[in-house]
Symmetry: D5
Subunit: 188 residues, 10 copies
Amino acid sequence: MGIIGSTIKPFSATAFQAGQDFFQVTDEDVKGKWAIFFFYPADFTFVCPTELEDLGEHYDQLQKLGVEVYGVSTDTHFSHKAWHDTSERIGKLKFPFLGDQLHTLSKNFDVLREEMGLADRATFVIDPDGVIQIVEQTCEGVGRNANELVRKIRAAQYVRENPGQVCPAAWEEGSETLAPSLDLVGKI
Amino acid sequence: MGIIGSTIKPFSATAFQAGQDFFQVTDEDVKGKWAIFFFYPADFTFVCPTELEDLGEHYDQLQKLGVEVYGVSTDTHFSHKAWHDTSERIGKLKFPFLGDQLHTLSKNFDVLREEMGLADRATFVIDPDGVIQIVEQTCEGVGRNANELVRKIRAAQYVRENPGQVCPAAWEEGSETLAPSLDLVGKI
Amino acid sequence: MGIIGSTIKPFSATAFQAGQDFFQVTDEDVKGKWAIFFFYPADFTFVCPTELEDLGEHYDQLQKLGVEVYGVSTDTHFSHKAWHDTSERIGKLKFPFLGDQLHTLSKNFDVLREEMGLADRATFVIDPDGVIQIVEQTCEGVGRNANELVRKIRAAQYVRENPGQVCPAAWEEGSETLAPSLDLVGKI
Amino acid sequence: MGIIGSTIKPFSATAFQAGQDFFQVTDEDVKGKWAIFFFYPADFTFVCPTELEDLGEHYDQLQKLGVEVYGVSTDTHFSHKAWHDTSERIGKLKFPFLGDQLHTLSKNFDVLREEMGLADRATFVIDPDGVIQIVEQTCEGVGRNANELVRKIRAAQYVRENPGQVCPAAWEEGSETLAPSLDLVGKI
Amino acid sequence: MGIIGSTIKPFSATAFQAGQDFFQVTDEDVKGKWAIFFFYPADFTFVCPTELEDLGEHYDQLQKLGVEVYGVSTDTHFSHKAWHDTSERIGKLKFPFLGDQLHTLSKNFDVLREEMGLADRATFVIDPDGVIQIVEQTCEGVGRNANELVRKIRAAQYVRENPGQVCPAAWEEGSETLAPSLDLVGKI
Amino acid sequence: MGIIGSTIKPFSATAFQAGQDFFQVTDEDVKGKWAIFFFYPADFTFVCPTELEDLGEHYDQLQKLGVEVYGVSTDTHFSHKAWHDTSERIGKLKFPFLGDQLHTLSKNFDVLREEMGLADRATFVIDPDGVIQIVEQTCEGVGRNANELVRKIRAAQYVRENPGQVCPAAWEEGSETLAPSLDLVGKI
Amino acid sequence: MGIIGSTIKPFSATAFQAGQDFFQVTDEDVKGKWAIFFFYPADFTFVCPTELEDLGEHYDQLQKLGVEVYGVSTDTHFSHKAWHDTSERIGKLKFPFLGDQLHTLSKNFDVLREEMGLADRATFVIDPDGVIQIVEQTCEGVGRNANELVRKIRAAQYVRENPGQVCPAAWEEGSETLAPSLDLVGKI
Amino acid sequence: MGIIGSTIKPFSATAFQAGQDFFQVTDEDVKGKWAIFFFYPADFTFVCPTELEDLGEHYDQLQKLGVEVYGVSTDTHFSHKAWHDTSERIGKLKFPFLGDQLHTLSKNFDVLREEMGLADRATFVIDPDGVIQIVEQTCEGVGRNANELVRKIRAAQYVRENPGQVCPAAWEEGSETLAPSLDLVGKI
Amino acid sequence: MGIIGSTIKPFSATAFQAGQDFFQVTDEDVKGKWAIFFFYPADFTFVCPTELEDLGEHYDQLQKLGVEVYGVSTDTHFSHKAWHDTSERIGKLKFPFLGDQLHTLSKNFDVLREEMGLADRATFVIDPDGVIQIVEQTCEGVGRNANELVRKIRAAQYVRENPGQVCPAAWEEGSETLAPSLDLVGKI
Amino acid sequence: MGIIGSTIKPFSATAFQAGQDFFQVTDEDVKGKWAIFFFYPADFTFVCPTELEDLGEHYDQLQKLGVEVYGVSTDTHFSHKAWHDTSERIGKLKFPFLGDQLHTLSKNFDVLREEMGLADRATFVIDPDGVIQIVEQTCEGVGRNANELVRKIRAAQYVRENPGQVCPAAWEEGSETLAPSLDLVGKI
């Protein structure tokens, strides 16, 4: 089965978040609101900070949309804290980071590069039922785009809240939507 | 292993393309240039035509970038032709459509909704070696965005052509890139 | 065991029928009256419309005999509707079509050409107990004959309603039948 | 895979034919010309003789079309001869009967009623390559129709001899045929 | 284990007996009296009628001894009746014939020539408990001898009715028997 | 497969024969002439000596017909010799006895009463090719009949030497035989 | 596990003992008193009678010690009786002989020469709990020694009756024994 | 198969022998002369020293007969040496002791008490071909007898050197032996 | 999983301790106080006594710390006693020795040199819950150091008794310890 | 088999060492000189820096003894560098650190706490043949002692260089050693 429409698998990870003591996060904690799992290869590396910064700049907006954000790499929570303490860009980020040194999350979402022990550059949007609704993955060296991610989350939230409506290509909030019906079959 | 970095699996499908007789396309035909596999659930339905039209409007630009586009659903090539003949929006599209009534492609890319016999809404960008470099998947009812797709293909092509360079988040053509090195570790 | 005398296997398919919204049909819905499953390779192709038209011309007669008719191919119900909307011959047909893009029915009746994902040209007559009583299959390119099909259904109904009677070769309604007995053994 | 298009499986059976000594028939002997395998439940019973007589009346015509006919039941060749010697209707038949007391043919064609040791009422038309092109099966008590069988054999022979042509529904020799092409897709 | 002393296995067969309608015979029906299962290769053949006639001439005597006789071949009950109707010798026989076209009895008694689908020439005597007491088998072409069979049945009945007595070689009714005892060990 | 027509299985046994030292007999030694394997339960018991004596009285006649005789029980060759030395009846016998304390022969011919370690009372006639042609088995307490055994051996030898001839029931040397042919089918 | 200390396995055998009718002996009958199982290859052979005679001369003494003796070979009880009747030495023996033509005992005690169907020359002493306490085995051609056997049985009985005492090498009744204790460790 | 007549299995053990450095002994070293494997439970215990002393007193005699002696327990060669150094009785022994702390020998000869890790009290005599000819085993607490062991070895050597002769029960060197022959069967 | 943190596996062994009778020790007896399992290759050898003596000199101190000591080799408890009786150094030792001739403990702690049947030179410290907290292993020929062992046991006891405190490298009793906290991450 | 004496398993890891670019280290690179693998749970944590600092202070001495040191945790080489850059204590260390985010080394040496994805606190000394000679493991919270480690490495080197010598307990360089011999068995 495709990953779209599947439910997230069980996990338990230790999180670091600025201004708090370490805490555990499980699949059950994630459910009940929207969530982004934002995988990147490793702390202290190159593209990752620009992507994390780009995402950090949209965090307030995402929080207003009811969306939590989790940064995930195969580093420990100790390493996440150390990076936060020593990097200016990372130090600004307010969302939690999960330590995946066990590789559980990377395997659950099928993004572990097994010969390296590092995760791919991959984003998953989870709805409040724990179901995966949006996936983005890019090769090493290609940064993601938080703007486009927010656009798609808005569309997915619109569809969830308006049963019987769908959002056409490149839809932006406020644009027209479609209501599928028998009469429209073969007519669009 | 994650799908990013994996090579496409063998397939053979009958294609419909406007102005030509039906023809076969295999995994070997795909290699040697960049390619987009653009999966959608079914001919004659709702979101699909707006996404296909959006993609069609970028087809000339993609052709200039050396990228071929394949529309794919579990319908036959007969059905693809009939849709092209009877829908104004679809009738304008110049790229080929593959008949996947055998479900081979939908299973190869792991996007078959097995209880329905239809594909998810999913995009895969393949490099000239047949390796998957970019993945996008969205839930039913959320249209994709061809502009963002083109942005990411440009970045992937830049990285392939400029070894030792990486593109930061939301990079657009002409923007600055980064050259990773030991000195940068922990410094970005 | 031969297929004659076997009971139809479970299935669930979405049906298109002119003048109605899409609806589900299952093996349980089929039971309780006589039914014809009329398989053909694909919508929008060549022999199929002539055979479907021939069968359509006998539909009123079959309805009077208490027989429902189901057209079946591996196309979706969307495709069936589109064909109905755009083909004059198909547009006249009043019986339902089942979307078998899942291949369940084609496999249940053992008529899937596995290397193509299309069904054979095959007819199955089911009695009100869900038991297969008559089978006809022909190679690609040879059309079936609705007149002969009706003749055989009448004979099967006659036998079901008149236990102890059998219909000789090429029997037509009103002709003489036979009553098997020990005395007739070796005497016909 | 469906039975249409499959090749007959190996067998060896002893045949009785009027005016000859017993002889062996194998799958290799069948190939090279068209053939009908005409299964029936048992010698000395009821519907069978009327069907066999009906078929016998078309034997000269079938011979002219290059078609051999084989009657098959699970009786021995001794029993076939005894029936021929003692029944007026059967005594007139000129085509060979195969003794299938081993059940090989009944199993090869999947028509053995396993709980009875008798074959179903089933007809298979084989082309000169040993490939099954037409199948007819009816429940106990419903006789077949040799006229319709001849019509379908003529159509199958026409299609084999005229590549690129197909015979529409209820086609009779001399009627119009169709030549499938891309232009006809969705136009019939 | 040897066949002597084993109990007959379950079966159900349709029987023909002169002057009656067809009826079922099972292993349970056989028990309660003595029985002979008299296997022969096929109806309408050569040695069989002489053996069956020889046995038929002892049928009254066997009936008086409380022994039922069953003729068995892999022919159907229809064929048995037809043979009875058309052969003078067979027509005189008053005991039942079992149709073993399912090969159940031939396999139960291990007398099926598997490459031919016919039974060996074999006789089994069953006591009222369903236990096999006497076996005779001969190759094709060698007829059995009903006189000797009756002699052995009388001896077996004598032994059953006179516990502690045994019948020496070639014993005839009325001859002397032996009573085994410790004293006789090594003394005969 | 039935035992009639099967070839004897490999064995090696030590034999005792009056007037000779012990010697080995194998399946290969048996071939090339006719042979009787005459199984009995145990040395020094009751019915066995009368049967062995009856057979011994026909030994000269059997030798003239080219038939060797082997007495077989699960006793050792030492025991066979001791019985011969101490029993008047057994002491007269000139044919060899095989020691089957290994149970090889009793299992090869499927006559071992497994819960007792003794053989059944069973006779097998083997032709010069090592093929079993005649079988007789009787329950404990019923003696065999050497006269009838000789009758059947004569018939089996006649059939072997006269291909195309068969011996009817209760045939005695010099009586009429039958020549099977197509014309006789259903006529006897 | 070694055989010493193991319990005898289930068996049932028919026994011959002078002056009695045949009777059954099982593993349960053996328990409750001491027993010797005295295996030898075959009745009527060479070393065996001298060993059996030697043992027989100690039988009264063994009976007084509460020890039963069982002679065992793969011969039948009939053969044992015949040997007793015809051999002077064997005729004097008063202990029972078991017929092991089933090989159960020979396999239970692991003394069957499988390629010959005969037992090894082996002695087992069983205590009243059915536990094996003493084993002696010798190759073909070497006779055992009943005196030594009696010596060891006395020692085993002494040990059983005097917990805490052990018998040193070559101990004879009345000689000194040892009482093991911590103080004796390393001191003898 | 019984242990008598079987060949010793491969092993390698470190040996201690008075007046020598430690050395390895394997199954190959054992072959070529007669050998005794003398198992006992443990160094420093109770019965063992009396048995070992008894055997030691026959060592010169055994050496003259060409027989090597090996003491075996699951102790190490270090322990064997320590026992020899500290025990007067053991210190006198001149034959080698094998360290079986690996349990290989105890398992090869099937004398390991698995729940204790100690060997049973067991003696095996091996001929120059490595074949086991004599076995003696006694329960805990019962000492063996070296005199009787020597008697049996003499008999086994006599039989090996004089083919066709056997030694009767309780045979002592110089006594009469037997030559088995057909004439003696049943006569001793 | 690493051995640190695992619970000891079940065992039962016979112990020798100076001044006591032999007694059993099991895994359950070990729990409830601290324990050292001190493995060494063999009694009566070279490095072992110096290590055992070194440990013996710390035994009073260890007893005060609530720690029991078990010497373990694959020798028997008889051998342990004999060594104690005959070696001055070993004779002074007051702690118990376990006989592991069954190899259970050596396998449980994964220190058996399987090709030799001897244990490695290895020390395991067990806490009162039966959990392994400290491991030391050295190659043949390198003696351990009881001082360092005591240092580590003190540290482990300190940590157990002071949750939230850890002992830095080379910590000695009375030195400073550390209390880990979020603030210290990356700061030491 | 115990870990002592086993050869290190294959691995490949990326190393960070102050003043160098990242480089690969494999099991082959390790061989040819002595090596320490020094496992610790995680970068940026508590006990680890004191242990690493303690080891660092002995690094020059170890280098002189020809011993390389590898720090190992499940962190990446990026994290190792970042720790070095930001911690004063760690920044002083001159030996290489291996990134074991793949868990290969932690599993090879059996020290992975599987439920945490972190390594135990464990030290392994490898000789120039890649064979493990010394192991030390302590529970969480108990620091190791570099002095004692150096002592044991000296002893292991001494033993390797002086075959036939062993180092007694708590041996320090220059102290007396032992030369094992037969004479010393049981004498120390």
